[in-house]
C-alpha cells in the first residue's frame, strides 16, 4: 500500500488521506452474525440490510463511484476509484452487497444506455439502494453464451419477454436485471439484443433459488413468462446485444475502462500462503505437526510460488519492456486466480487430513470449516463467468492466434 501511495499525484494523495480517515471514522460495527464469504451468498434479510447500510454510507462518503460523472451520481473524478479500493482493502472492512451492479451493470449502462436510463439507474446502483443482477446464462447457453434463447418479441410499442435465465446471483434481492436476449433467430450473434428488465414482484417474472454444492444458495433461476417492457429499456440498437455483452464481460474480467468499487476481499487479511502456514501449525498429520511433513511443506511452497508469481505478474503487466504482448497477462487473470484459489483450498484439505471432513456447522472443524466450504465454492469460480476451458480457448485464440475451437 505504501508503495502505491508513493506514486500518488498530489490530488490522489489528498484523496487517499481522505479515504483513510473516512474509513477509520466510519468503519461499521463488527456484526454479531457470520458474514458469508461473498456478497452473492447473502440470504438473510438482516445481513442484507447491514451490508446495504454500509454501502450507502460509503457511497455518501464518496468512496463509491468516484470516477463516474456527477450527473450520474458519481464523484466526477478520474483514476480515483483504484485509490479508494486500495484503502478499503487495507482497511479490512466488509464487502459491498451490490457487487454485480457495481462491477458489471453500472459500467454497461454507462457505456450503452440512454441518457434517461443512466440518470435513473447509475445512482441507485452506486448507493446500493437498488440491488441489480445479471441475466446471461441459460439452461442451454453456458460456455456458448451467444446461443442464448430468451426471446424478446416486438408487440406494438412494447417488447414481450419469455425465457429462462440461470445462475443469477442476487436475483432474490434484485429489483433489476441486465439481460442478454434474442430478438431474431436469423443470426446467432446479430440476433442478440440487450435490455434492462424489472424482476422484483413483477407480473411475468418468477425467481427461484438454486442450491449450490455447498448446500447454500447464492444464485437463482429467473423465469420470464410474457413480461411486457417498453422500448426505452433497450440498451444500444436492436441486434447489438453481443457488443454490449462484451462490455459487461470485459468489466467482469477486470479489464474494463471503469474500475469497479470493491473492498478487495482477496486482500482481506492474510495471503493464502500465510493462512496455509498457520493452518499447518495447528493441524496434525499422520501423528506429527502438518508443518513438519515434507509433502505438506512442498505443497504449501507450491502455493506460495504460484501466489507470488501472480502478484508479480500484476507488477510486470505494467512494464511494457517486459511484456511483448500487452493483453497476455490481463487475459490470464480469471483462470489463474480461480485455479490458484482452488489449489490453495485443495492443499488446505490435505493439511487438515481427516479433519477436512468437518464442515462449517461442526464445532471441532479447523478454521470453522471454511476450507471445505472454500474448496466446494472454488468450482463456482472456475466454472462461472467463462469456465477455465473457455478461458483457455480465449487465450489460445486471442493471444497465441491458434485456430478457433468449436
Amino acid at each position: 500500500m505504501s508503495q502505491a501511495a508513493k506514486k500518488d499525484t498530489p490530488e490522489q494523495a489528498e484523496y487517499r488521506a481522505y479515504c483513510r480517515k473516512w474509513i477509520e471514522e466510519n468503519r461499521p460495527e463488527e456484526p454479531d452474525f457470520r458474514l458469508p464469504l461473498q456478497a452473492i451468498e447473502v440470504m438473510d434479510e438482516g445481513v442484507k440490510e447491514y451490508l446495504q447500510t454500509w454501502q450507502k454510507k460509503a457511497y455518501d462518503g464518496g468512496l463509491i463511484g468516484v470516477d463516474y460523472p456527477t450527473e450520474y451520481g458519481g464523484g466526477g473524478k478520474s483514476g480515483m476509484q483504484t485509490i479508494a479500493n486500495q484503502e478499503l482493502a487495507a482497511g479490512d472492512v466488509p464487502y459491498f452487497i451490490n457487487v454485480i451492479g457495481l462491477g458489471m451493470c453500472a459500467p454497461t449502462i454507462f457505456h450503452h444506455a440512454s441518457e434517461e436510463l443512466k440518470r435513473r439507474f447509475i445512482p441507485q446502483i452506486l448507493s446500493g439502494e437498488m440491488i441489480w443482477c445479471q441475466g446471461f446464462s441459460e439452461p442451454g447457453a453456458g460456455s456458448d453464451l451467444a446461443s442464448c434463447n430468451t426471446s424478446v418479441v416486438k408487440k406494438g410499442d412494447k417488447w414481450i419477454v419469455n425465457g429462462h435465465k440461470v445462475w443469477t446471483s442476487l436475483a432474490h434481492y434484485a429489483g433489476w436485471m441486465i439481460a442478454l436476449v434474442r430478438t431474431s433467430n436469423h443470426d446467432k450473434y446479430k440476433g442478440l439484443s440487450f435490455f434492462v428488465l424489472p424482476v422484483q414482484d413483477t407480473k411475468g417474472v418468477t425467481i427461484r433459488p438454486l442450491i449450490k454444492i455447498t448446500g447454500e444458495t447464492g444464485f437463482n433461476e429467473v423465469i420470464f413468462e410474457d413480461l411486457e417492457v417498453p422500448d426505452s429499456y433497450r440498451l444500444d440498437d436492436v441486434g447489438k446485444g453481443w457488443t454490449v455483452a462484451m462490455t459487461t464481460l470485459t468489466h467482469e474480467r477486470g479489464a474494463g475502462t471503469l474500475v469497479g468499487p470493491n473492498t478487495g476481499m482477496s486482500a482481506r487479511g492474510a495471503t493464502r500462503t500465510q493462512r496455509l502456514l498457520e493452518l499447518a501449525k495447528k493441524c496434525r498429520r499422520n501423528g506429527k505437526p502438518a508443518i513438519d511433513d515434507p509433502f505438506i511443506r512442498d505443497r504449501i511452497a507450491l502455493v506460495a510460488v504460484w501466489e507470488e508469481g501472480l502478484a508479480q505478474n500484476q507488477r510486470r503487466a505494467k512494464v511494457p519492456g517486459l511484456t511483448d504482448d500487452p493483453m497476455r497477462i490481463p487475459l490470464q487473470g480469471k483462470v489463474s486466480f480461480t485455479e490458484l484459489a482452488q489449489l490453495a483450498a485443495t492443499v488446505a484439505l490435505e493439511i487438515e487430513g481427516q479433519a477436512s471432513s468437518l464442515y462449517i456447522a461442526d464445532p471441532m472443524a479447523p478454521d470453522s470449516g471454511t476450507w471445505p466450504l472454500t474448496f466446494l465454492n472454488s468450482y463456482g469460480n472456475t466454472i462461472a463467468a467463462g469456465t477455465s476451458e473457455v478461458q483457455r480457448n480465449i487465450l489460445g485464440e486471442r493471444v497465441l492466434g491458434m485456430a478457433k475451437s468449436k
Partner: protein, 382 residues
Amino acid sequence: MAQPKDFGFGEDEKMVRDSARKFIGEHGSIEKLRKLVGGDPDPEKSPESLYDAPAWEQIVELGWTALAIPEEAGGVGMNMATVAALAEVVGGHAFPSPLIASLLTTLVVREASGENRNELLGEIAEGKRVALAVTGNEGAWDIDSATIEVAASGGSVVLSGFSRYVQDGGKAELFLVAGRSAAGLGLYAVPADAKGLKVTLDQIVDRTRDQATLELDGVELPASAVIAAPADGTQVLEKALPALLTVVAADMVGASEWQLQTTTEYAKTREQFNHPLGFFQAVKHPIVNMMLEIDKAKSLVYAAASAIDNKPENAERFARMAKAQASDTAAFCSDRSVQLHGGIGFTWECDVHFFFKRNKHNQFLFGDGAYQRSKLMKILAG
C-alpha cells in the same frame, strides 16, 4: 529500500536487452545452432566444446562481460534486471557461448573483496573465459558442497581433489574453484593450464553447452590466486546464490518461451483431420498452460532480480521461487514441446530437441523445483 515498480528495467536496460536480441538473433539463429551443434548425433562420439569464437570476441567488445561488474572494479555496473534479460535472450536461442559461465562467475567474484578480486573482475571484463567450479564429488546442490582440499605451503596454496559439473568448463581459460581447508571454504582462481589440473569433458545430453570434471592433483597457486579467504568463501557463495539461481531461471524462461512460440506455430500450420492442430483443445489447452507457467516464472525472475538489487533480505526468497517455478516450467514446456510436435518432434532433425535438452539440464542445475521449495519453506516456516 523500496523496490522499483518496473523491477529496475528501464530504458537503458531495455536498450541492452534489445541489442542482445538483435545480436544473438543473428549470431545464434536456429540455422547456426543446427550447424554448430546438430552435426554428428552419435551419442558415443567424443564430447566437444562448441561455440562461435568470433561472436564471443564481439560480445566482449559489446561489453556484456563487464555488464555485471561494479563500476569500482572497472565494469559497467548494470543492474540484475539487465543480467536476467541477457540470460533470457541467451536461453531463447539456446546460444552456445561462454557468456552464461562468465556471468555466473562474475556474480560470485563480485561478492568477494580485495585486490585479487578486482584484478580478476578486470580480466573477466576484458573477455577472459571463466567458469565456476564449486560443486563437489557427489554433485550436491548445496552451494558449499565443494570437496577439493586446500593446504597451505609457505606463501602459496595447494589444491587437490575433484570438482564436478563445471558448466562450460571446456571453454574456460580460468576456473573459480571452491576448496576446503580447516578454516572453511575459500575461492581460488585456477588457470586452465595450471600444472596438475586435468579438465575432462563429460558426455552430456545437452549439446548447447559443455560440462567438465576438474581433477586437481596438487595444483600450487600463489597468494594472488586467493579470491576469498577460507573464512569467507561460504558467505560469498551464499550471498551470490540468489543471482546464480536468477540467471539460470532466466535462461529457462527464454528457452521455454521459444518452446511455446515454436509449438504454437506448429499448431497453426500442421493439419490433421482437416484442421490445424491448434483447433483441437487437447493441443490448444496445454499450449496455453505453457504460457501461464512461463509468465509466472518470468515475473518471479524479474522480482528476484529487483530484490537482489534493492532488497537483499528478500533476495533468496524470490530467487528460490523463481528457480522453483522456472524449473517446473522448463520441464513442462519441454515435455509438451516434443509431445505436441508428434513424430517429427522425436527426431534429431527437428529443432525442439536442442531446447528440450538445454531446459532439462537447467532444471536440475543448482537444484530442481522440489529442492528450491524445500529451501523456500525454511524461509517461510523455519
